[in-house]
């Protein structure tokens, strides 16, 4: 039996444009929906699969405002059976702070009788892109960590994890449990929630905890957007009649064989 903790982050679902808040410290998400990154969608899927295959439980955790319960409920609808909200203003939390808050929950649950054989996270958050939380967490928990994992299988008291190698091939790790793994999109297809799943998710009590300690923060001074370029597009035409103009362009660019 392997119990799994999977950590996700509520982020704005960006379309084609980004608007900053007036203070320049964040993205104005007031008109945007929210989601979790593709890496985390895959981490949730792997957590559910491992829990199912080993008769364990998958618990989902996030650090954020109470709005992030939306993302927890989504993971519950997919098949997680427990959820933890570490309620805090995520913008004031740097990677070391987030890792410390997760470690606190892992230790508290362990004291209460649940040991997570696996803690899964996304490889990097789609907004802050720090690439650190999983690694910092592994040091706090004194567990091995593998990053960039696309598929995994639990085999007794170890886990085999596969991910991309720098030369385009695959690297395979076999690490003893308990372990921390960060997941990258590409190895598996995340499932969609079912109607019964959604019904069940509504009934789950989300555990709410407050992190102890003062966060050191992320060192952010401000965000900057690249200057908006006025559109320079040259429209070659409409419909199939533009084919001649397209091929003229391809020839001009020297890309026709």
């Amino acid at each position: 039996m392997s119990d799994v903790l999977v950590c996700i982050k509520r982020v704005p679902d960006l379309g084609g444009e980004i608007t900053l808040t007036p203070d320049g410290l964040g993205v104005d998400d007031s008109a945007l929906g929210h989601t979790v990154s593709p890496h985390e969608e895959c981490a949730v899927e792997l957590a559910i699969q491992v829990a199912k295959d080993t008769d364990g439980q998958a618990t989902v955790l996030t650090l954020g405002s109470s709005d992030a319960v939306e993302q927890l409920r989504h993971a519950l609808a997919l098949g997680c059976t427990g959820a933890v909200l570490v309620e805090a203003d995520a913008s004031g939390y740097g990677p070391a702070d987030v890792a410390a808050a997760i470690a606190e929950v892992v230790r508290a649950h362990e004291a209460a009788g649940t040991t997570y054989d696996l803690v899964l996270l996304g490889n990097d958050a789609s907004d802050t892109g720090d690439f650190q939380v999983g690694i910092r967490l592994s040091y706090l928990l004194d567990r091995p960590v593998v990053t960039g994992v696309s598929t995994l299988s639990v085999d007794g008291d170890s886990v085999v994890a596969r991910g991309g190698a720098p030369d385009g091939g695959t690297e395979i790790f076999e690490v003893p449990l308990p372990a921390v793994l960060t997941v990258m999109e590409g190895g598996i297809e995340p499932r969609y929630p079912s109607i019964p799943g959604r019904m069940k998710a509504k009934k789950v009590q989300v555990e709410e905890v407050a992190p102890s300690g003062t966060p050191v923060g992320a060192g952010r001074v401000r965000l900057k957007l690249p200057p908006v370029q006025p559109s320079q597009v040259e429209v070659l035409g409409e419909g199939p009649e533009a084919a001649g103009a397209v091929v003229d362009l391809l020839e001009k660019l020297g890309v026709v064989r």
Binding site: A96, Q132, A165, E185, G239
Partner: protein, 321 residues
């Protein structure tokens, strides 16, 4: 003089292009540049590093480094760092991973994917966030600044005066815990996989507008006629129309071809992050206001299923004539 240490990744040709970019980038800090090489480097590496201004090459070798273990590499970085005040690597998966271990062990912050140094003292940098769509200005106030340098932050350029580096074999103390997560075996990539996509001169991109798994025949023919590679948006792979290794974007491959033909792709940030550095962008889209169209250099307005076959036909006609 204070030093900056660069973890250098290598391939058969020497230091990788992104590592040479990183060496070029950090010379701007005005510190002595030291490099760390793990394992056997290719012949000529030390001379090459000297050409990039490296004065000391630390070399970590031995049983602990025969198979990759990020924590062991981090131990090597710490052994090589000495009194360096800046520790860097290229912002690759491996570079970011090893530096995160290093920053954690030093108890300092880390900035991933830096593109600019805003101020040297106190050190402030700008780095890519939101998949490269925005920059974050960040302070690095710890005694040792740890940051990775994003790919293409600058062009790789040799130093004005070449150095003759001192090679310094490192004695690294690697603990058992550092080797818990270690590569046990590797498998070669499929010959056709994204290697071709990442280096292609022409990428034909396809999005939701392809319409379904059967909607790619004309796009594949155009790809073939131009000797390019097919790249697709995330929606195409998440709907299962095409395999993930063809995905271009924030969580797929990043490409910078001479020409990117964006067919039926609206231009969401997720996709734009993977192809915005293309030299020329041609958009084919039914919506003249789609972000991909307004940001492109050239556009054709209309249905890709009508336009792409007509372009293929015209290409065939001209090559026959």
């Amino acid at each position: 003089m204070s030093a900056v240490l660069v973890l250098v990744e290598t391939d058969a040709g020497g230091a990788t292009e992104v590592s040479r970019e990183t060496l070029t980038f950090v010379r701007g800090l005005g510190h002595d540049v030291h490099a760390l090489v793990v394992g056997d480097g290719p012949a000529g590496l030390v001379d090459q590093l000297g050409a990039y201004g490296v004065t000391t090459v630390h070399h970590a070798d031995g049983d602990a480094f025969t198979a990759y273990a990020a924590a062991a590499w981090a131990a090597a970085v710490l052994a090589a760092a000495g009194d360096a005040t800046v520790v860097t690597a290229a912002g690759t998966p491996r570079g970011n991973e090893v530096l995160a271990h290093v920053a954690c062990r030093l108890g300092v912050t880390m900035a991933a994917n830096v593109v600019e140094v805003e101020s040297v003292s106190p050190l402030a940098v700008s780095r890519q966030v939101l998949g490269g769509s925005a920059l974050e200005e960040m302070r690095l106030e710890d005694p040792v600044a740890v940051f990775s340098v994003a790919g293409h932050a600058c062009d790789p350029a040799e130093a004005e005066s070449h150095a003759t580096p001192v090679v310094h074999p490192l004695d690294v103390s690697v603990s058992e815990a550092d080797l818990r997560a270690r590569v046990v075996r590797t498998e070669p990539g499929e010959p056709d996989e994204s290697g071709g996509l990442k280096s292609a001169r022409v990428v034909v991109g396809a999005g939701r507008g392809a319409g379904g798994p059967e909607g790619f025949a004309d796009l594949l023919e155009l790809t073939e006629l131009l000797g390019g590679s097919l790249g697709v948006s995330r929606v195409v792979t998440s709907l299962g129309w095409r395999p993930h290794h063809e995905q271009v974007g924030q969580t797929g491959s990043r490409v910078s071809p001479d020409l990117y033909v964006a067919c039926g792709i609206s231009g969401a940030i997720q996709h734009w992050a993977g192809m915005s550095s293309s030299k020329t962008i041609l958009a084919i889209n039914t919506d003249p206001d789609a972000p991909m169209v307004t940001k492109a250099h050239y556009a054709v307005i209309g249905d890709l299923h009508e336009i792409v076959p007509a372009v293929n036909e015209e290409l065939r006609r001209r090559s026959a004539g």
